[in-house]
Point group: C2
Chain length 362, copies 2
Amino acid sequence: MSTSSLPKTYSHYYLENRGTFDSIKFKQDVPLKAPGLNQVLIRVRAVSLNYRDLIIAKDQYPLSAVPERVIPASDGAGDVVAVGDGVSNWKAGDRVMATFTLDHQNGYFDEASFLDSTIGGAIDGMLAEYVIMPTSGLVRVPEHLTYEEAATLPCAALTAWNALFGTDGSVALKPGQSVLLEGTGGVSCFGAQFALMAGARAIITSSSDEKLGQVAEAVKTLGGSRLETINYKTTPEWDEEVLKKTGNQGVAHVLEVGGQGTIEKAFSCLKQGGVVSCIGFLAKPGDMPPNVALLALVKGAVFRGFLVGSRRQFEQMCDAISLHKMRPIVGKVFEYKDARAAYEFQAGQTGFVGKVVIKVSN
Amino acid sequence: MSTSSLPKTYSHYYLENRGTFDSIKFKQDVPLKAPGLNQVLIRVRAVSLNYRDLIIAKDQYPLSAVPERVIPASDGAGDVVAVGDGVSNWKAGDRVMATFTLDHQNGYFDEASFLDSTIGGAIDGMLAEYVIMPTSGLVRVPEHLTYEEAATLPCAALTAWNALFGTDGSVALKPGQSVLLEGTGGVSCFGAQFALMAGARAIITSSSDEKLGQVAEAVKTLGGSRLETINYKTTPEWDEEVLKKTGNQGVAHVLEVGGQGTIEKAFSCLKQGGVVSCIGFLAKPGDMPPNVALLALVKGAVFRGFLVGSRRQFEQMCDAISLHKMRPIVGKVFEYKDARAAYEFQAGQTGFVGKVVIKVSN
């Protein structure tokens, strides 16, 4: 390892006494280690935030144990600055993203132990000036993307990709079908982009015409004439509007991010035999959960839970992003020193569409 | 059934003493029958020809027995002029196409007896002024298409659709992947259109720059910037060119229509784990067949034989064609009286791209 141009120390954020955003702490002068066997050292350039990052800081994350003083954030992009022994396929200067689940290489998420390798949660994440990652957890950044854009891909984009293309053949998304996206958050924006890219009709909802306009503008070159928008504030019966926009066929895929506030309406505008990809679990305490068993039975539907996607899927997604010169929708960029403000902005859910990014270094 | 405006008799072509195109005979003054239970009477407006039609006339078709005096041609479009008892979902005036395999409603072609219901071969086909079809064998014509265009869909288009979207999830076509189309015949042209529509890169070969230019022009609005063309006459090592155009990844899907002249090169530019959809079986007598077992083993490939597709797939394909306002490439239109000339023109394989159509009535 050549370390001539590398600093001796670096800084990172970490979470301590989780419960509120006060748990987000900053640490400097941490000694920089060398990458080991089959590892690379990455200078992080940008990080993006997900809903998961917020609830991990708030100690509300149900899916995996989170160790004290973990480095937060699953999503980041940077460049390789040093490689360890045994590394032949990566070199200094390569632009990379880390995968959300380091051990999920291919196929379905069919080992519970995969959860132990989810970064920014079960193990250290990306909100740091430097990170060390195994080569098995790296994906190359598409050439046309900036680091800020690339940092949005590992969790939200791959979740949307897996929802649309990770199902078995008979229910895989096909050109001409319709996809429902709820709201204009990261997953939904990516879902709209991928659905259009795949020749489908994308129907996206929001309470804000301005946000819907921003999405429409951003997807123009991907087949934007196939985007339909619905303001669910001015059209509270938005499920009926979805049916209308699909000639009463209903949508073949729903990216269900809304949780119990939206599930029943999502099923009501789902086509027979459609797929509901269950991504969100927003719920107010005390609310009665919807009767998904009955809803799925009536529609002969697949209700599918999954966590992000595999490295192979990530690579396939990047091929598609490259071929289409697709650009992720970055709603707002914060400086590294303002990471906590970025968390608060993301939690506010207003004033942006797409992804919130933290610029770590130039 | 109201028959007030219908003629008493009609004409149709039929095949007798098959072996050459001399077997194509014409018959007039055939009494027009009324449709029975769950049947409709269709006034045929246009028919398109496929390679299968040629070799059925030449008595070289290997897949099913063909009865003497069969009415030829699998592909046609027309309008319903009368409906039989029990028909509630179709009415006079509806524009329809018949399905290639009347009994193949959904799922895989998993019953050998399906072959007994393939029209224009095992049973009577579409080269007639009127035909009677069961409602289970009907698909609605997309609104924006003419009868001539619609007549091209039942066999060639659905074959291309099934090749790309009829495989199981892990090998289903995804945006960003590449598809190889061999030549500019009907299936290959449709394959290029569907691949582009689905966000893939389409690579099409031909010996003629003029034909390649015609295809490029025709697919412009479907994402034509993702079309790549290769002249295999000026680039005999076209498989290497395919690899170059895919950044050495190779193609994920091949629509293998060329038979043994192309199979080895197709495998050589196939990506690891790709799919070769086996559609053609052109071969000169005495030629040694390629070692597909070894080729497939080396590439971990799926080599997939199938026959056209199901009615459900046909309907899904029409949804896609409608959403994209896609137009089939019609290379040449013949008059009804010149049906034999159409056969000869199609057999010549020169002077057109896409489909050869016979206009039956206005």
